[in-house]
């Protein structure tokens, strides 16, 4: 059998990673067989996959490329007590039993490496450039920030990877999203990606890997790049990617699973070859002027229904497309909003600071920088949920927990929490929330709950004023005694 060789023409980052994972090139319209370097597992999408292996008497092929954590169902309070919700407890107990039976490394509640699967991979140094990463979770796109090919898969694919460490896949199309220029003060990665989704639509990325390029992307930290790649799926894309550079290498180096010695040198030498070649052709290209971007917020019930925070709630008539118009009508009704209302006049009941989009240490620092020395608006419930137990420890070492609790926020244990409300962290019907998460679908954060997606900075300012706001709307802080 011959080793598949890459073509000679200039290639994009995505094509290079793909080519280097070809086990068998598909012919006659058959998919390629792609090798998977890292398989992340959590309690929600794995039980049926383990079940399937058991039923067929198949072993898990590579336990050394597999790692599991508990995140979707875990409580964020009283984590030392048994989980009250029976079904949540069953899922978690099932993962624990399966991990033991199949020999998979598992980070359980209470462990320093437990947390949201997309926070844990990068923090351990398992996520690195030029690898393929899959997980039974659509926000696996997060890991593309390292220049990895990372995408969500369904439970039967989870079983497939467990059994074969490969996936049959058709190559994705590529779309370059170039963001050039300097971001205005207070404009973050979250605002860029919300603007991208509003521009291309929740289906504009369908079938594509989005590669974020340009000076504004190069200037982002790894956390910011992860936020962007995380939400690529909300534009309908399979994955998001950013070419690796010094910022990437610095982030990876020294982490528990990062390569060392000669392996590190070999890896970096290879990683430097990954950025898209001069003259590589993308299937589609989008350009965005960074200087024009403002803090962005969603008004509707899909992540594409967003506008600048300084704007107003649109009217259904603003949309030419009949489907979009109908969707807007439905969304306005669900969100209980009147067209023409300035976004900044919308009061909220809750603020959720967390999720795999924005729960890393840098996100918590951003939130803290705004709320420090201030008091939350009366009657607003503010929850701060770190992405992992390790992030929680880091935040506490920096004293951020005190900043949050003095502000009046609840400081919780790590997990997905109110991002999807599988645990008790939910909105009540009719409650309105400014959330740093990634999905504002109907009922996502609790049945009847209303979600506005925002950046950590906007979440923080909103928590101060009790209505959607950006830090520039806040009155100057009273001098804090040193």
């Amino acid at each position: 059998m011959s080793i598949p060789t890459p073509p000679e023409r200039p290639r994009t980052l995505a094509e290079k990673v793909w080519d280097d994972h070809l086990v068998v090139r598909g012919e006659d319209g058959q998919p390629d067989l792609i090798y998977i370097d890292l398989h992340l597992v959590h309690e929600v999408t794995s039980p049926q996959a383990f079940d399937g292996l058991r039923a067929e008497g198949r072993p898990l092929r590579r336990v050394d490329l597999t790692i599991a954590t508990e995140d979707h169902n875990t409580p964020t309070l009283d984590i030392d007590k048994p989980i009250a919700d029976l079904t949540s407890r069953t899922q978690i107990d099932t993962l624990r039993r399966n991990a033991q039976e199949f020999g998979v490394r598992l980070h359980s509640l209470g462990d320093a490496e437990q947390g949201i699967v997309h926070v844990v991979g990068p923090q351990l140094g398992l996520t690195m450039p030029g690898i393929t990463v899959v997980c039974g979770d659509s926000h696996t796109s997060t890991h593309g920030a390292f220049g990895a090919m990372a995408f969500g898969i369904g439970t039967s694919e989870v079983e497939h990877v467990m059994a074969t460490q490969t996936l049959p896949l058709k190559p994705f199309k590529t779309m370059a999203i170039t963001v050039e220029g300097e971001l205005k003060e207070g404009v973050t990665a979250k605002d860029i990606i919300l603007a991208v989704i509003a521009k291309i639509g929740t289906n504009g990325g369908q079938g594509y890997v989005l590669e974020y390029r340009g000076s504004a992307i190069r200037s982002l930290s790894m956390e910011g790049r992860m936020t962007m790649c995380n939400m690529s799926i909300e534009a309908g894309a399979r994955a998001g990617m950013v070419a690796p550079d010094e910022i990437t290498f610095d982030y990876v180096q020294g982490r528990p699973h990062a390569p060392t010695g000669q392996d590190w040198d070999d890896a970096v030498a290879y990683w430097r070859t990954l950025p898209s070649d001069e003259g590589a052709v993308y299937d589609a290209e989008i350009f965005i002027d960074a200087a024009e971007l403002e803090p962005f917020v969603t008004w509707g019930t899909n992540p594409g229904q967003g506008v600048s925070l300084s704007g107003t709630v649109p009217a259904p008539e603003d949309f030419a497309d009949a489907n979009e118009k109908a969707a807007a009508e439905r969304a306005l009704e669900y969100m209980d909003l009147e067209p023409g209302t300035p976004l900044k006049e919308i009061p909220v009941d809750a603020v959720f600071m967390g999720s795999c989009t924005n729960s890393r240490i840098e996100d918590l620092r951003a939130f803290a920088s705004v709320v420090a020395g201030r008091t939350k608006a009366e009657g607003v419930r503010v929850m701060v949920v770190p992405g992992s137990a390790r992030v929680r420890l880091e935040a506490e070492a920096e004293g951020l927990d005190r900043v949050f609790t003095e502000f009046g926020a609840e400081w919780r244990f790590a997990g997905c929490s109110m991002c999807l409300g599988m645990n008790p962290d939910q909105l009540a019907p009719g409650e309105r929330c400014a959330s740093t998460s990634n999905r504002n679908f109907e009922g996502r954060q609790g049945k009847g709950g209303r979600t506005h997606l925002v950046s950590p900075l906007v979440a923080a300012a909103t928590a101060v004023l009790g209505r959607l706001a950006s830090p520039s709307d806040l009155p100057a802080r009273e001098k804090v005694e040193a």
């Binding site: 086990v23 979770d137 898969i153 039967s156 309908g236 699973h257 969707a327 999807l420 679908f441 009922g443």
Partner: protein, 198 residues
């Protein structure tokens, strides 16, 4: 997996676009650890409304769903396909599907066929005229017929072949065992390992 050739069953119109997987099966049902028995979870929130299409007697036992564009967007949960399958659906037709949903459907023997926007409208009109009518879906010919109306649908060749043959993914892939082992033998040492190397 059962082989799929032709299927005839009651067709239910789901008159919405962008039906996301949170609506197909709300997150609360994802807590189960079994692979079957999700029929009660399908469209659980909408089914509380007595007027919802699946609650109407004419559509009881429906096995073909015809929905608006962008069906299955949102979370990658495969439970969405299980819920449709367990409820009794064998076919979903829509003018556009989310990629992940369509992939999941093919693997579970649920046919997800792409129809044109005008054919979608014609089918809804035909069902409005005769609620409870059956539709015959011919995978070999890639056509769906209801009464005198016969429309083509698109499905990629590979998924169609798999459905026609009733082939399981893992078994197919493991026919490449030798190539997988060769690939593993030449993987670089720096690539991640989750377990401490002994």
């Amino acid at each position: 997996m059962e082989k799929f050739a032709t299927h005839t069953g009651v067709v239910a119109p789901l008159k919405r676009s962008a039906v996301d997987t949170d609506q197909i099966i709300p997150a609360v049902y994802l807590k189960r650890v079994t692979k079957t028995g999700f029929e009660d979870a399908l469209f659980a929130n909408w089914r509380q409304d007595p007027d919802f299409v699946l609650n109407q007697p004419a559509f009881s036992g429906a096995s073909v769903l015809v929905a608006g564009p962008d069906f299955g967007t949102g979370s990658s949960r495969e439970h969405a396909v299980w819920a449709l399958r367990d409820y009794g659906f064998r076919v979903v037709l829509a003018p556009r599907f989310a990629d992940i949903f369509r992939g999941n459907a093919g693997k579970q023997g649920l046919l997800a066929g792409v129809i044109s926007e005008s054919d979608r409208a014609a089918i809804w009109a035909a069902v409005d005229a005769a609620p409870g009518a059956t539709m015959t879906v011919d995978l070999e010919a890639r056509t769906a017929s209801i009464g005198d109306l016969r429309v083509p649908f698109e499905i990629d060749d590979y998924t169609r072949w798999r459905l026609l043959e009733g082939l399981d993914d893992i078994g197919l892939t493991l026919r490449n065992e030798e190539a997988i082992a060769q690939f593993e033998a030449r993987r670089e040492a720096w690539r991640p390992r989750t377990l401490p190397v002994a």
